[in-house]
Symmetry: C2
């Protein structure tokens, strides 16, 4: 399997991307195709003692970089020679089996939609972060790609999310819930009420009804369905509360000598807990609905996270997800 990687996407490019790719190539049995400037990549590889590994990767030369500040549309306008745009075109042309980037998420969604193209029947490409819950993890779909949604899109987010959790994450019969202000079927706005009906009536989906965000981190379900605006609010509130709480706990542990001693005694376990609830640890988020797998690596990813993300990209590609979604939607439209 060949995974195309945007060598110049994210906060720690190209060094950490290169190192993560080198590790993934050795440990995961995948081939790597990098997009970016060859001279800069070779310089970085020399610096890091990775020249041998780089020589075993394919490089598709391009000079530009699309940054976090660039408009998402620039991937098909001003920045068509960027490492992201070139990578997406290489995927569309079949020069690799999947594409992964730690760059601008919005641009990646635009590129997946317009360059790689949607699966026939898919209304919108979605961005689906995986977050930890009390035990295990859940997916939030859509996590921010589509601020305005129609009910059919929410149904498809549920279908794609369930398929991904089953095929890639190994969750049996994933429970799909609709993020809403109350659990009763009539709750929420028109969008929620209509999406509830569609999700209830679709055969084969394990829809558990509305879920309130209070219960989401406490294992309400495996796939949380939301419009991209709400989903993005939820992911960011999740992060914000976790970060602030850990800061406050740190203050407690530093308060006086007695607390510092106690902190030393639980240091390892608290560190493990912090890691457990840090969603960056999950490597990234699949972008779903395009004809080929596109994966968003966390923007701040270091080599270990890049490697994790590439493992998930590999599993995503091997899973047959794209074909299965195409089949489900085709069957449905034939009904």
């Amino acid at each position: 399997m060949k995974i195309i990687v945007d060598a110049f996407g994210g906060d720690n490019a190209p060094q950490e991307i290169l190192l993560g790719c080198a590790q993934a190539m050795d440990e995961l049995g995948i081939d790597i195709v990098l997009t970016g400037d060859r001279a800069r990549l070779e310089a970085a590889a020399r610096e890091m003692g990775l020249s041998d590994q780089l020589s075993r990767m394919e490089i598709i030369q391009c000079g530009e970089v699309l940054t976090m500040e660039d408009d998402p549309m620039s991937v098909i306008r001003e920045k068509t020679d960027s490492s992201m745009a070139v990578g997406l075109r290489a995927l569309a042309e079949g020069r690799g089996d999947a594409f992964a980037s730690a760059g601008n998420s919005g641009a990646l969604v635009v590129g997946a939609t317009t360059i790689v193209k949607r699966i026939r029947g898919v209304k919108r490409v979605s961005f689906a972060p995986i977050l930890p819950k009390k035990q295990g993890f859940f997916m939030l779909n859509d996590g921010g790609a589509n601020v305005d949604c129609r009910p059919e899109m929410l149904l498809q987010f549920g279908l794609m999310g369930a398929e991904y959790m089953k095929k890639v994450m190994g969750v049996e019969n994933p429970r799909v819930g609709l993020a809403n202000v109350g659990t009763e079927s009539h709750k929420g706005d028109d969008l929620r009420q209509s999406a509830y009906k569609l999700l209830s009536n679709f055969p084969g989906i394990n829809f558990v009804g509305n879920v309130e965000p209070r219960e989401i981190p406490n294992d309400a379900c495996d796939v949380v369905v939301a419009d991209g605006f709400t989903g993005n609010m939820l992911v960011k509130m999740y992060e914000g509360v976790a970060l602030t709480l850990f800061d406050l706990i740190k203050d407690v542990f530093k308060k006086n000598l007695k607390n510092k001693v106690a902190a030393g005694m639980v240091y390892g376990d608290m560190k493990a807990l912090k890691k457990q609830v840090d969603y960056n640890e999950y490597g990234g988020a699949p972008i779903m609905g395009a004809t080929k797998p596109v994966f968003k690596i966390h923007g701040s990813a270091k080599a270990a996270t890049v490697k994790n993300a590439l493992r998930l990209t590999r599993d995503y590609t091997q899973s047959g997800f794209t074909e299965e979604i195409g089949r489900i939607l085709k069957e449905k439209s034939a009904e």
Copy 2:
């Protein structure tokens, strides 16, 4: 000052409501008018040794109770003889200066709107929980009263929130932020983009622009403006993450003998932290936009929280909030 209290609202009514009212009457210099069944109140007072205190409260007799399961509209339909409906009518008739209830929030919003009536110019009555941030607290307005909103409503939520924080909570020049998926002015859906413009152009409001939920618990602003659907999602996600994290920390502290010893050493400080971030401690949430102050006491409130809530209700009533909002909106429409 006379505060009318729904003696049969909430999980711990009437006992904890009665005790909280008795304490508030003695400590806060307010008079209490209870709504509910006299015989049941007298029996509860006898049981708790509060007969003397009860004898100093006015009771407005009514037999019914509106429960958490009742439809919010029942406050003006099936349950017009409930302690909540009777209390709201008593407020409208001037038999007290404010009304507080730990009962069904939705019904309280409906009653504030239709029985107490909106301030002239106010488009929607809102429900505004106060939540802790890293230091101090912030208000989320609207926190769930209005799932469908127009931009002018969001502007008014901002205005009312700022006025409340200033006049009741003592925050100088409160910073108002719009909950959104990004900080740039063009971010979000049509509702957000239009609300951003209205908030930017309104004179006298300290609008700090869009705020991402990731920064909200970390002191992004003092008043977070949202439509009621988004606001409710944010409050509930906040609660959910905090509850789950504290559960996980408890597991760490119970893991083995060493951790148990450490837990003992920081027990008091961790308990204080848990209390600091528990939004129930703040007593409740103002319902804003009605012609007289209505206050939602937390459903699970015990006596101490009821007393806190009545202190806030007193401050809300004394603040001149209602008159000020009326004045601001009148001036605006006169422009």
